[in-house]
């Protein structure tokens, strides 16, 4: 080849240099666009590439009883999770975890299925691992790089089944709940109150989740916690102070007959606060923490005694004789009844009204009775006549005014409304015909279309124990400066109220239906009831609603007890109410609680009770 002239070479070189410069320029521009023009966007992606946001669960607020005892608090629990990874590596990790955590094959498959549906979230393997397992895993950390151990607060209920219905329970939020407006701002895996007080006060008990950033590499291995960006600590939920007397509830759980169904409600007369709310049979809310075992859940749901059913607040029973007091209160308010007055018709065991002949429960008859005597003996014939004097219109109107067709307003998510005719149209709606005047006879003795919750009956008796007004029964101590005002009023003067209480006092006087449940230290008065079911072929429900307080003072506690198929209010229900009231008051006044309580127990044990019949006149 001839040697090219310098001019030729220079020309070729210049072209080559231009091409070179252009191509290098193209590269520079490409990098300028990526790094300077679009740099911020890529920087963000780089951050999200390597940073995983992990929520720090907030401990729920502690729940205290009225004396500051802990009812529900939090203990640390450890969860074992796996970081998001392809299914194959998840499977491998689970296989190696299997012997350590004792996982079953089926469960592993279930977890993998779950991981497939939600690939971005860490996979929760064990929600509440044994401490030893966690310690082992911590030691073998290097062998399990994709395992993530997390401390989560776990709810603990100190009273167990005694407060199951009242407290409710907590659980992981469900997909359906996440979509509710109530749970706006909630995230998956958060633990929420599902029932009872936990649900009622969810908003304040929950607290605020914290946030933590951890750095992961391309295969999802945790490289460490990332300090560069502020992590927000979790804010614990607000504590909740209850009116409940924890030891009283435990005591009630202890003395309530084990094989019985029923409920106990104890209210504080001073402010209507709930001292105890108990429903039997019960369940242990601790079983629900961290997810309830499926077998146990099915068992609880299939159990014919319905342990999950809160009888104290949702159960409705015919109030029977306990409602006679309400009839008396209405008659006194209307001025159609004088306390000392004896009804014109004596009790002969039955009462004729038009063509209708109604019986008294005592076939021999009670003879002539005043209000106190009629209450003491629970005479039906007396109250038939009270009912006639009031008239059906007035009874329906006044009964409704006293809230027998409304809920009490307790601070629980679910409460049953009492069944009571709010208007005369009630019969029309329910049975298709207008009521006859003699409906008043049934209603006056607490029968007919009248079903009330134990809580409602207790609230009504609180009004009797006070000045005729009753506030809504509240479980939690109100944070407001002033307690809520009374819901309604009996509109009775002091004399009339005292007359009713005098009647109730006769119930526990010698010869009264609940005499054997009287107490040494406290003035216990009240009313028994026996509520027939349906046609009266099955055993009747046993009622007792009692008021108790120091001798010569105002009643301080109201206890309502219902025992399903307990047959006798005086034998089954009254002793429980008496012992519960005694237990609460003894502790309130510093009297030891380990001695014999009721007169019945004195007789059974052969210990003399010189105080028997104190402050009572013998009923005739």
């Amino acid at each position: 080849m001839k040697i090219p002239q310098l001019v030729v070479r220079r020309g070729r070189a210049r072209t080559a240099a231009v091409v070179l410069a252009v191509m290098m320029g193209v590269l520079s521009v490409a990098f300028f666009r990526a790094q300077v023009v679009r740099g911020t966007a890529w920087a963000l992606q780089s951050e999200s590439n390597r940073l995983r946001v992990l929520p720090i669960p907030a401990p729920r607020g502690t729940i205290f009883d009225r004396y500051g005892k802990v009812i529900a608090d939090n203990v640390p629990s450890y969860s074992v999770s796996l970081f998001p990874a392809p299914t194959d590596s998840l499977r491998a990790s689970l296989r190696r975890l299997q012997p350590l955590l004792g996982l079953e094959d089926g469960f592993v498959e279930q977890l993998l299925e779950q991981a497939r549906t939600d690939r971005r979230q860490p996979l929760l393997v064990v929600g509440d691992a044994e401490y030893e397992d966690v310690a082992t895993l911590e030691e073998l950390r290097a062998e399990f790089p994709d395992v993530f151990l997390e401390m989560r607060p776990k709810r603990r209920y100190t009273a167990g089944p005694a407060l199951g219905h009242t407290l409710g329970y907590v659980g992981e939020i469900s997909q359906d709940e996440l979509e509710l407006p109530t749970f706006e701002g909630y995230e998956q895996r958060m633990v929420i109150g599902k029932d009872g007080l936990e649900r009622q006060y969810e908003g304040s008990l929950q607290g605020m989740q914290g946030v933590r950033y951890i750095e992961v590499d391309a295969v999802g291995r945790v490289v460490g916690s990332f300090e560069g960006q502020a992590a927000a600590p979790a804010l614990p939920g607000r504590d909740l102070q209850l009116n409940v007397d924890l030891d009283l509830v435990r005591y009630i759980h202890e003395i309530f007959p084990e094989d019985r169904r029923g409920a106990v409600v104890a209210l504080n007369v001073a402010d209507g606060g709930v001292l105890a709310l108990y429903s039997a049979p019960s369940f242990d809310p601790n079983d629900f923490v961290g997810g309830i075992d499926r077998g146990l859940w099915e068992q609880l749901n299939r159990d014919p005694t319905r342990p999950l059913f809160n009888r104290a607040v949702v159960g409705r029973y015919p109030p029977a004789s306990t409602w006679k007091v309400a009839a008396a209160a209405i008659a006194l308010k209307m001025g159609v009844l004088e306390p000392g007055e004896v009804m014109p018709a004596p009790c002969t065991g039955s009462f004729r009204y038009g063509n209708d002949v109604r019986r008294c429960w005592y076939p021999a008859g009670h003879g002539h009775q005043d209000l106190a005597g009629a209450l003491a003996h629970s005479c039906n014939v007396y109250f038939y006549q009270v009912g006639v004097r009031i008239g059906l219109d007035n009874l329906v109107r006044e009964g409704s005014r006293l809230g027998f067709a409304e809920p009490c307003g307790v601070d629980l998510p679910v409460e049953s409304t009492g069944v009571f005719p709010a208007t005369l149209g009630f019969w029309e709606d329910r049975y298709g015909f207008p009521p006859t005047e003699n409906e008043v006879l049934s209603l006056a003795i607490g029968q007919g279309p009248n079903d009330q919750t134990p809580l409602k009956m207790a609230q009504f008796y609180v009004a009797l124990a006070r000045d005729g007004t009753a506030p809504a029964p509240r479980l939690a101590v109100s944070r407001a400066a002033e307690p809520p005002g009374p819901d309604w009023s009996l509109d009775l003067n002091g004399e009339d109220l005292e007359a009713i209480r005098e009647g109730l006092r006769q119930v526990t006087a010698p010869g009264g239906t609940a005499f054997l449940s009287t107490l040494e230290h406290w003035d216990l008065i009240g009313k028994t009831g026996t509520a027939q079911q349906g046609l009266g072929e099955e055993p009747a429900h046993a009622w007792f609603v009692g008021l108790a307080g120091a001798w010569g003072g105002r009643p301080e506690i109201v206890v309502a007890v219902i025992i399903e198929e307990g047959v006798s209010g005086s034998a089954a229900a009254a002793p429980i109410a008496a012992k519960a009231a005694d237990f609460h008051l003894r502790r309130k006044y510093g009297i030891p609680t380990d001695t014999i309580q009721t007169l019945r127990e004195h007789y059974q044990l052969g210990v003399p009770a010189p105080w028997a019949g104190r402050g009572r006149r013998e009923t005739e």
Binding site: A16, M23, L27, F31, Q35, V36, W42, A43, V216
Partner: protein, 410 residues
């Protein structure tokens, strides 16, 4: 001291090459700084340092060789290289991050890539062939012999399959042909079947291109033989026709690489991963970068092949746009120096070798740097002087030696 005068005969080229080698070792060191250290990248910089020492020895040796010997040795070297390439197909193994490419030959503890030898051999062989001509190539027929010469090693490399190195052969062929005085029109016609192949992914675009080509040939008919025009038309037609079977014959990963070049989101966890993560790394580096060894994308193992093919992503992430610009300027100086040396050289063989080296490195640099920002499809091709790899560093320094020695002979 004679050897040193030879050594330092072109301070600019050697200086830039040394600077790039040092820069490469620093970046390989950084690529080994991971949160979860990997045996592959940890200490790679030390091995590279050792290879640099070997490379400098080789360079020193090469600059002692008389230019006439170099010219003489071109043919035997070329033949040996072809034999080695053939041997590689039979007994070659994969290595390191390029497991899929069986481009290595192991001789006892030594392992090297015959394709690197072949590149040098092709440069020398082509220079020898073209410098033997009296006139610059003036027709397609004149291009037949050089093309055939390159087609042999190129074909063997494609079979490995190592498309990146194959591109380098194309680069050196065109660069050498250009320096030999081939009219750009001829070069275009030589390249046109390749263009047709690329454009054939869309029938309409290919048809428009084909019609334009035929029109072009008609306008310039007086400058071409009829047979040549026909060959070009047939070549383009054939390229368009074989595109589909060729596409189907590609390995799946090769097809995916081309597909994700058009849309990385197609397979973000698979074939698109490299490109996406590389772009994130470079983009997040911003103007000033995250600092030497501080790149998070790299540190957390998001970057693939970060000490070999994707080392420039580490540069982008850690040193930012300014660092990238600095590196590009170094490469520009390197290539521009080769052009200057060729311009000064009065020996046709020397000029052709210099331009062959220029073409090879240009393809390596442009494709490697370009693929990290998504400018060109991802091809397994290393960055001269910078990427980790012993044989490649050795070959780069041998080329530098050849360039310096031949350029100094004026």
């Amino acid at each position: 001291m004679r050897w040193f005068r030879r050594w330092a005969v072109d301070v600019e080229l050697v200086g830039v090459a040394l600077a790039l080698s040092a820069f490469g070792i620093a970046m390989i060191f950084s690529a080994g700084v991971l949160n979860v250290p990997s045996p592959v990248t940890q200490g790679a910089w030390l091995r590279q340092l050792a290879w640099l020492a070997i490379s400098l020895l080789a360079f020193t040796a090469v600059v002692q060789v008389k230019p006439a010997w170099i010219e003489w040795v071109a043919v035997p070297v070329f033949l040996v290289a072809v034999v080695l390439l053939g041997l590689t197909l039979a007994i070659g193994t994969g290595a390191g991050t390029a497991e899929g490419v069986e481009g290595w030959i192991e001789v006892g503890p030594l392992r090297f890539q015959p394709s690197e030898v072949a590149k040098i051999a092709a440069i020398l062989g082509l220079a020898r062939l073209l410098s033997a001509r009296d006139e610059p190539p003036a027709s397609l027929r004149d291009l037949l012999a050089p093309s055939a010469l390159i087609a042999v090693p190129l074909g063997l490399v494609v079979l490995q399959p190592d498309l990146g190195t194959a591109l380098a052969f194309v680069g050196l062929l065109f660069a050498a042909l250009y320096w030999a005085g081939t009219p750009p029109l001829l070069l275009f016609l030589l390249a046109s079947p390749g263009v047709a192949l690329v454009l054939s992914f869309d029938t309409r675009i290919w048809s428009a291109y084909f019609i334009a080509l035929v029109g072009f040939l008609y306008i310039y008919r007086y400058r071409l033989y009829l047979a040549e025009s026909m060959t070009v038309v047939l070549g383009n037609l054939a390229a368009g026709t074989i595109a589909l079977p060729l596409w189907n014959s590609l390995a799946e990963y090769q097809r995916n690489r081309l597909l994700v070049f058009l849309d990385p989101a197609l397979d973000p966890r698979g074939a698109g991963w490299n490109l996406i993560q590389s772009k994130v790394a470079i983009g997040s580096g911003g103007l000033l970068g995250k600092g030497f060894t501080q790149g998070t994308q790299k540190r957390l193992d998001f970057l693939p092949e970060q000490h070999t093919d994707f080392i420039f992503s580490v540069v982008g992430e850690e040193l930012g746009f300014l660092g990238v610009l600095g590196a590009i300027v170094l490469f520009w100086l390197l290539l521009f120096r080769l052009v200057r040396l060729a311009e000064r050289s009065r020996d046709p063989f020397a000029g052709l070798v210099l331009f062959g080296i220029f073409g090879t490195w240009f393809v390596h640099i442009f494709v490697n740097v370009g693929m990290t920002v998504g400018l060109v499809p991802i091809t397994g091709i290393p960055l001269p002087f910078v990427s980790y790899g012993g044989t490649f560093l050795l070959s780069c320094w041998t080329m530098t030696g050849l360039a310096v020695r031949l350029a100094g002979e004026t």
